[in-house]
Each structure stands twice: as C-alpha cells, then as structure tokens.
Symmetry: C2
Subunit: 185 residues, 2 copies
Amino acid sequence: MDATHRALCEYGYANLTMRRISDELGKSKSLLHYHYDGKEELLVSFLEHLLDEFDRTVSTEGHGSGEETLRFTVEALLSDADCHTDFDTAMLEMGMQAPYNDDFRDQFRTNDARLKDLLSHIVADGVERGEFEEIDPERAAEHLLILLDGARGRSVVLGTDAPNDVGRAAIRDFIGRITVGGDGE
Amino acid sequence: MDATHRALCEYGYANLTMRRISDELGKSKSLLHYHYDGKEELLVSFLEHLLDEFDRTVSTEGHGSGEETLRFTVEALLSDADCHTDFDTAMLEMGMQAPYNDDFRDQFRTNDARLKDLLSHIVADGVERGEFEEIDPERAAEHLLILLDGARGRSVVLGTDAPNDVGRAAIRDFIGRITVGGDGE
C-alpha cells in the first residue's frame, strides 16, 4: 500500500501500472498479480487502506473539546506529508472513474459514509456538551465534507501555490461559527 | 457554443470530438476547424462563453436584498436545466486537464476570479447595508465557491440521486449564517 501511495504520487492515476507499483515495492509484478487482478482492484484496496489509516490516526487522539477534536480530525484529512498536490490530483482522477466503475464508486461511498459518521458524532457530542450551537450534526458533517472536497478539487484545477490554505481558512471559519463563543471569522 | 454544450452532455469530455460537435451543429467539420485549431481551443472558448452567459443571467437580476441577490446568483451557478450530472462530469473532466494544459488552467482561473469578484461585491454591499454580519467579503466569496465546487465534485464521484440538494442546503445554511437575523440552520 505504501508502494502504491508512492507510485500514485509519482505517476498519477492515468500513468500508474502494476509494473510501476511492483518496481516501487522492489518485488516482481507476478507477486502483485497473485494478490490483485489488476490496477483497479488494487486501488480499491488502497482506498480501503486509506480509510483504515485514517481511523488509526484519529483513534489515537485524546479527548479534547469538540472544537479541538474537529480541528484535529479535519487536519488529518487535509495533510498529506509527502506529495500533497500530486496525490490530490491522483485521488481526484480516481474519483472521476467512479461514474464508470462501480467498485470505485462503492468504495468512495463507503469512505465518505464513514467520515460523515465520524464527523457527525464529534459534532453531536459537542452539541450535547454545550460546546457547539444547536445544529444538525449530519448537516454540519456534510458541510465540512463539501468544504474538504471543494478545497482539494480547487487546488488541483486552479493550481494554487498553497493548495489547502484557503480551504483550511474556510473550514476554520465554519468550525468557529458553530462553536459557542467561537470566532466566526 | 450550444452545439458544444449538447455534445459535452451527450459524450462527456473524453469522447468529445470535433466531428461530434459539428454533427450537433449540423455543419461541416471543416467549418469548425476554420474557426478552432482543435477541441481544446474550442473548449477554452466554451468556458469563456459560459462566463459570458452567466454574466448576462445575473446582470438582468433586479436589486433585492443582499441575501436574495446571493441566493439568486448561487442558484444561477448551480442549475443546468438539461443534462445536469453529465454536464458536471464533463466540466470536472475538463478541470482535471488543467494541471496538464495551461490554456484550460488560465481560463478556469479567469472564470473563478470573476465569480469571486462578483460574489465578494454582493457580500460587501450587503455588509455595508447592514444586511450581512461584519465578515470579510472575499473570504465569504471563497467559502461559497469552495462549497459550489465541492457539491459538484461530490455529485459526480458519489453519484447521489439529487446531486445538488445537499450542496444547496449547505450553501443556504451558510448564507443564513452570515445574514443579520438570518436562520443558521
């Protein structure tokens, strides 16, 4: 999965091949084919892997305020240490296959549903503790997911220098707005 | 341009050809080639045309409150009467070419800058008239653009049945939040 990540960063989705992934892995292509029928099956597993990794990252987080937990979680979704923009581009190219590939679409939906569930829970807990305003947790989660996807898409299409900074500002702004006594700007 | 729109809806970006556009137009392919070097040059003109069309739509709008004007403008950006999802998919596929095609990128940036400018002005006017809270108009405009792009992208990747409804709800929510005495949910 790490080799797939590196290969995606380097070659993007369109130019990714089983050969290139196995080269990154330092193993034979036949070994890869033993486990996966092809690039698409491997990439569906890769999407699952990303979700697992994300689950691990956020589950190690201590229990701060709702605002802190939300910020930490969103940050975990935004940051990609090594090859930021190229990886976002590759992920978006993969997403563009979803209308033509049911396995991709299903996995993207699964990942999205899990994220929505996690964010909804954080918001619901915060509302219960009086940290967030009386908002609909699902709608707040959806708002955050739309902002995350929008920020990523815009950084790819418009190619801004600091891809996620504007997106981060919008997300920070939104979290501030829903926080009781928070700073809306 | 109308023929290009129809052909994009029908064939998407990848399968669009000069032949298919000229068939939609009911003219010869050579006439099209007389005006445009190829599909990409034609599509850059098409993006310009979309911006002009949008300018015309919003300039006919009467001068309601800031909130009304903002809602009308966003609605004009969201709705595409004929071939909603397919057109959004084609536009996103075109956007995905931007990292590899400077002409596309420049035109996407031009369109985005114009929209940002328009939305900023609407917000700034509303702030001045005391209709909107004391927010940074540029940041509010950026927030709306991120939501618009995020909603479109998600409808393509996740293939929701009512593509823009969730996006509309998030945008309505945001406009409500920045409106003095508005309804944040």
